[in-house]
Each structure stands twice: as C-alpha cells, then as structure tokens.
Symmetry: D3
C-alpha cells in the first residue's frame, strides 16, 4: 500500500487518523506489513481483493475506496474494485479467487461457523495451509481496520477515487 501511495504523492488519511495514538499506530502498521508484504501463495492483487471484499461486506467506505484504488493498480484492471466490493460472485475473477473470497467473507461475517468443510473446499482449489492463514488473517486484520475507520469517521482521500481508473496519465 505504502509504495503505491508514495508514488501518488499524498498521505492517506488512515495515517493521520491513527497517528493520534502512536503506539497503536506502530503496532497496526507492523501487523499490516508483516501480513501484507510477506512472500505468499497469494498475489498482491489477491490480497487486496480480500481487503475489498470483506470491507464491502462490512460497508466500510474508507477501506473500500482506498483499497479499491490499490486493487485496481495491482490487478491492472480499472473495473475490478466495484465488482469485488458489491458482489464477488459476479466479478470477472477466477473460480479459485471466488472460493478465496467466499472464505474471507465468512471469516468477516460468521467466523464461528468456519469448519473442516471450508478448509477442504480451499484445499481443493490448491490453497496451502499458509495460504489459508493469509486469507483468514487478512480478513481478520481488516475486521479491525474497518471498525477503526468507522469509529473515527475516517474519510477517504479524494485522490483514491480516481486512482487506477485511467490507463496512463495517473
């Protein structure tokens, strides 16, 4: 996320808002980077799909708009953010990615009902145990992040709305 934004030349509001509590700020971004930047069986775009789909399920404006922008850039696809936000079942993504998002949204909304059948389904699509941890942990981290955004009435920077939509200039 950071690298994308540095190039974009503005400071995302999540930094300004969370900086109110520096220790929590540092720990949050340490968690974020440990999880989102590590080598993984998931591509960068797939990780952002998880963020956008679960934030969509939670109706979190900041995360949908900010991470929707990052998703468009990583996926090199100007149409994907709305599709994944609104209804991943109709998105132009692979069946494997739909299974990944179904699991992520179940973690987001009814994690107590997760069971062996869910893991079996993911393994059938070729996800390893580490991949499954990544999927679930990203959904879990943005369960926190969505709630902090709502608690602080965090507003997306205007720049995010257009990022990744116009092929070249931006």
């Amino acid at each position: 996320m950071l690298e994308v934004q540095e190039k974009a030349g503005f400071i995302p509001n999540v930094f300004l808002t969370l900086a109110h509590r520096p220790d929590e700020f540092r720990a949050f971004f340490a968690y974020h980077d440990a999880l989102m930047l590590r080598e993984s069986g998931l591509s960068k775009a797939e990780k952002e799909m998880i963020v956008v789909a679960t934030s969509g399920a939670n109706d979190c404006l900041y995360c949908i708009v900010a991470h929707g922008a990052v998703l468009r850039i990583y996926a090199k696809n100007p149409l994907i953010a709305e599709q994944v936000t609104v209804n991943y079942r109709e998105a132009a993504i692979t069946d494997r990615e739909k299974a990944m998002l179904a699991f992520a949204v179940k973690i987001a909304k009814r994690s107590a009902e997760i069971g062996e059948a869910d893991f079996h389904e993911l393994r059938g699509h070729g996800f390893s145990g580490e991949d499954i941890w990544d999927i679930g942990a990203i959904a879990a981290l943005f369960a926190l992040s969505n709630r902090m955004a709502d608690l602080t009435a965090m507003r997306p920077n205007e720049e995010f709305y257009l990022m990744g939509r116009v092929p070249k200039s931006k």
Copy 2:
C-alpha cells in the same frame, strides 16, 4: 493478561498458536499491550468486560473462556463472566458500564451504523473522547482476535475455566 497468567503458571494457547508467524505475533501483542495496558479512564476490569461482551457477541470460545477468567480476577467477581458473555443487559454492572458495552457490541456487529447519537450517549455517561477510542478500539482489536481464534481452532487452556471462581486457593 500476561501478569495474571504468569502467576497462574501456564502458557495460554494464544501464544503457542500465533507464534507460528513470529512477525504477526509480535505486532499483535504490541497492539494488545499498547491498547490494554495504557493509562485509561476505563478500569482494567472494564476493558476486559469489553473483550468478553464482544467475544460473546461473536461466539468465540477461546476469548470468552480466557478473558472471562481475567475478568473474574480483575473484577474480583466470580459470577461476572457468564453474565457479560451471555447478556450484558442482565449483568450486575452499572448503567454506565452497560452503555459502554452497548457501544462495544455495536462496533463488533454493525459498526457502519455508528453515528453521532452513539457518541452523545457515551458522553452523557461521562466517557471522554479518549475513553470512547479505548472502547471502540478494544472491540476492534478483538474483532481481529476472535477471527484468528476461529481460523486456528484455538482451544482455551483448561486452567482458564476455573480461574477466579474459588475465592482463595487459586
């Protein structure tokens, strides 16, 4: 939590489970300590009430049993954990604490609907802006924690079930 457990003489399973990913482990506990150990307008027992009530709303066995134990100890009340888990409205706590838990559970379950009326209600009970951050942020952190426990099928250590129930011996 750590200090209580050191005295108790066992390693909570959350440490063993999350240690699978050391970087995420460190960041999680850094966040936990930054939020849960800081000076606050909330007492230690009130913070644990928030953990237990929101984990109850999310049906998370590990967090209910482990933090229920900590809550009994901090509140010096062997009956409070079940009350706050099942239905905080019927718990033997103050009206101020019920308002705190109503807000925390709303963050846990429908944070997109949080609005000015909710903040007004909390301020009417004497909670400051920093207190409100604490309430919401604890609910948000355990939104993450509950999901990680479900993802990893984390099981509560047997010792937790009895901690804080018998006046003296333990």
Copy 3:
C-alpha cells in the same frame, strides 16, 4: 438516464437484456420514465441517490455502476457514488437527503415496518406527500430492477465505471 447515455454514445446493457421480452421492456421503461422524468420536489440528482442507495443495500452491481455514473453527472460530484452506495450516513449530502435515503432503504429492505413515524420524520424535513410517493416508488421500482439485473446476470457497460469522474474530457 437516456439523455445522459445518448451523449455518451453507447447502449446500456439493460436495454439489450430486457429487449428479450419487448412488451415487458416497453412497460418497464414507461414506468421508469413516468416516475423518473416527471416534475418533482426531488432533484434529478436526489432521484438517482435513491436508486444508488437502494441498489447498494441490495448489492446489485449493474444498478450501482450504471446509476452511480448518472448520479455523478447530475450531482456534478465525482465522489458521491461510492459514498451513497456504501453508507449514505457518511456521504457528503444534506441531513434532508440522509432522511430521504433512510426512508428509501427502509422501503427497500423492510417495507412492512413502514409506519406513521416514518412519514412524520420526512414531513419534518419538508417533504410533501407527492415527494414521499416519489421516494418510495423509486425504491420500489428499483427493487424490481435490481432483481431483474440479478436474474439476467446483467453486466454494467465498461463506460459507466469512468463516467462523471474526470472533470472535462469525458
């Protein structure tokens, strides 16, 4: 909607899909035009806000993307579509418009619970009886439209995603 699209130079997929049944097609657009084009106490942008907010509540990709484009143009606001789709409570709109959308979403999701208190609230914001019919009837028409889009797996034209986002060129 039509006039916007004529200028845009493409045929929205809703026309192609519904043309499969010409009689139903004609009746649908007759209803649409009778309701959406009539003189009203609601502005064109407000009518589209109702479409977008209720389609958001129903997770309907086609209607969110197509009518989000129209809303951006009518409101001359490139940011409004995501805000109204995801969480109208956080959108940069007036309190009167938020009350309008609260009623529209209630019609969309739990119309059997509509009662005198809801009408009273709207009248307090200056909405007339005819305005209330417009709000409710637009929510009702798009209850139909969202379901037809889901039934037919209608996909938004790619052009819609960018319309109204870039100040001049488009």
Copy 4:
C-alpha cells in the same frame, strides 16, 4: 386477475390507490399484463403461487389477501393460499412447484446470491429458460408491488378474504 374480479363485481383497491398517478398506473398494469397474461410454461395457478409466496416472505397484507383469493380460484383449492403464504415447504403442491417457489423467494429476499446452482436446480425440474424468466420476473414485479402497497397502506377489499373458499355459491 382482472377477469376474476370483473366476475366478482367490485373494484380492487389497488386500482383506486395507484390511479393517483395515472402514468405510473398504466405502466404498472401494462407490465403486469405482459408478464402475467402471456403464454407460459407456468399455469395461471403457478404464477399466482409465486405472487403469494413472495408476498408472504415480504409480509404484504394486500397482496397476500388479494392474490390468495385469485390463487384459490385458479387452483380450485380453498386451502392453498394460507399454505403458500406461510410456508411453501409444507404446502400440498408438487416438488417441482416447491423448487419454483424456493427460487422465487430467493429472488425476493436475496437475489444477489442467485447463481448457476439455482438455475441448474430449476432446469432439473424441467423449467425452460423462459419459465425461469417468468418465475424471477414475477417475483421482481411483486417486489415492486408489495412495496407500493406498504407505501400507500393499501387495504384489501373485504370481498377477497372469502373468495374461493366456499365451493359453489361465490
């Protein structure tokens, strides 16, 4: 519906209520007739079952009572309206009709979740693509109709309650 009611000798309240907006009135009944009166793989009684089951799912008094009457007459079955309104799973209808109603109620309540598996299930019961359009489109039309009835507090004519219950006289 009209032909039944002409014989019955009274004007259903839906005509009086919607006549307040003549253009919308004409378009609504044009849509209704295009869909409900066309030749179809569904019988007249089956079409009314869809109206009654989805109106039951939406708790719409007018549509349940008015179309329940029509259903009793078309099905020549004085018991069927309550069964289909309350719980189509327990109604004395065929398994094919239960599959039809399961789809219709899914369109009524969670159409964004409709997918290939649902179409497959219907085709397995012998429904054609046109039949599936009919089922979904009737559910969609009465999604509109139920909401207009709630918006206008439309009350069923007293005559409807008894129509089709007593074998001969009526």
Copy 5:
C-alpha cells in the same frame, strides 16, 4: 379452544399428534388451559391475537390456521386472522392491542432484549403486571407449540380454514 372445537364437531390434529406421548400431552394441555382459560385482563380474543401474531412471526402453518379460526370466532371478525398473522401494525385493532402484540412478538423472536422500556410501554397502555405475564407467557407457550407443530409436520384440519368466515351458518 376446546369449547369452540367441540361445537365444530371434529378433533383438531394437535390432539392426535401429541397423544403419541400421553404424559407430555396432558402436561401441555394443563399448561394451555391454566394460562388460556384463567380470568385475565386480556379478553379471549386478545389472547388468541397473541397466539396468531407470534405464530405468524414463526411461520407456523398449523397454529396460524387453527388459532386464526378461533380468533375470528372470539373477535366476531372474519377479517382479523390474516391481518394479525401478516402484519399486526396494519390490523384493524386498537393501539393498545398493537402494543401488546409488539411485546409478544419481541418475546417470540428476541426475548433476551426485553428490558424495562418494554414494560414501561405496556404499563402506559394500562396493562397490569399480571396482564404482562399473560402476554409474555402466551408468546412463550406458543414458542413451544409452534416448534412441536413443525417437528411433527402437523397439518391443520381442513375445517379450520373456513371457520368464522361466513356470518351465520357455521
């Protein structure tokens, strides 16, 4: 209920079904009679309204049809059963009765959320403590009864559908 049915000349299926377990049968009807036949601040018709409204909320065909018949007779109103089943808010009953049914349906669907404000509301409509016990206890008894009907796939006797609809003959 019994006295009505004796006059009607048939044995309601609830007797046949529950007779499979004679001890439970006797206890159930002892409870039913103790609660439903005692002197009360509620009229016989009001008690049956509670049965029908809560059975409607639970989608229980047997109880809706059988007790709907009894309600029509006690209330001498051939239209009331559908109104109370589908949406008590729109029924032609008093505001006091609507408050009674709002409380009963809350007991039926979310009794853990019952609190002092609910009792205050009922007392404001003149209900005594004993009346409130009656309302809640009838909702509770039919929570049991609805579930037994569903468990046993109990079917309403055909006679119930028409009882109390035709002014004189029956």
Copy 6:
C-alpha cells in the same frame, strides 16, 4: 435436575419465580419431568446438552448457568458447559452429538425450515424417531423456558456457577 439440586441444598430460582402462578408451575414441571426423566435413547447428559446449546442460541442467562451446572455433573466434565453454550461445533463431543445439537438449534431458531433432509441426517447418526422427538421437544420446551426466564428477569442462584467444576468436594 431436581435430584441434583436436592443434593446441592438450595432452591433454584426458577421454582420461586414460577410459583407465582401455581397452576402454570405444576404444568410446566409436569411437562419437564415427562420429557426429561423418561427412558430415552439420549443420555441424561445429552438431554442437558440440548438445553444448554439452545439456551446459548437464545442468550438466556438463567438456563445457561443453571443447566450448565447440571450438564457438568451429568457429563462429569467441568469444561463442557462453556463449549456447548458458545459454539457446539468446537465442543469436545462426538459427531453424533454435534448432529443432535445442530438439529436442536435449528428447532430453536428456524423451526419452519425443518424438513426431510434434517431427519435423514439424524437417522444416519442412529437416532430413532423417538429420539428425534426427544431432541426437538427438549428444544421446544426450553424455547418456552428461556422466554419465561427473560420475561421474569430470572437470575441464576450463585451456587450454580461453581457446581460441577471442582472435582471432589461438591
């Protein structure tokens, strides 16, 4: 339940509360004993699991705490009550018992959706028709009991919280 409590030497509050209406009291306990004390294919511990799991689904403090105590004693397992209350899927019980509780919770929360597939599943685990009646009827009886506890704000006796937790003394 009674025999356990006699040994424990205190009067459970349910007796004091329900004694307010002696006829209803007698009928309730007659029903309770007829169902809970009869010879059955379910063990005493399994019957109490049903009580605890459905009371957990209904968030009923009295029944969770009182019957949790009885369950610990019958199952000779100090950990089982929290597990079955919070999430029976994660409890240390057999798959057969998990199927039993899945059915019981479905009766508790959405009994109108019970169908042949549910009975088939139970029979596959070796439950007889009488066993299924027991499972469903216990869930139904405590649907009543949970609601009476909420209606009367029944509080668990303090003794229940510790019963069955400490190996010997009690």
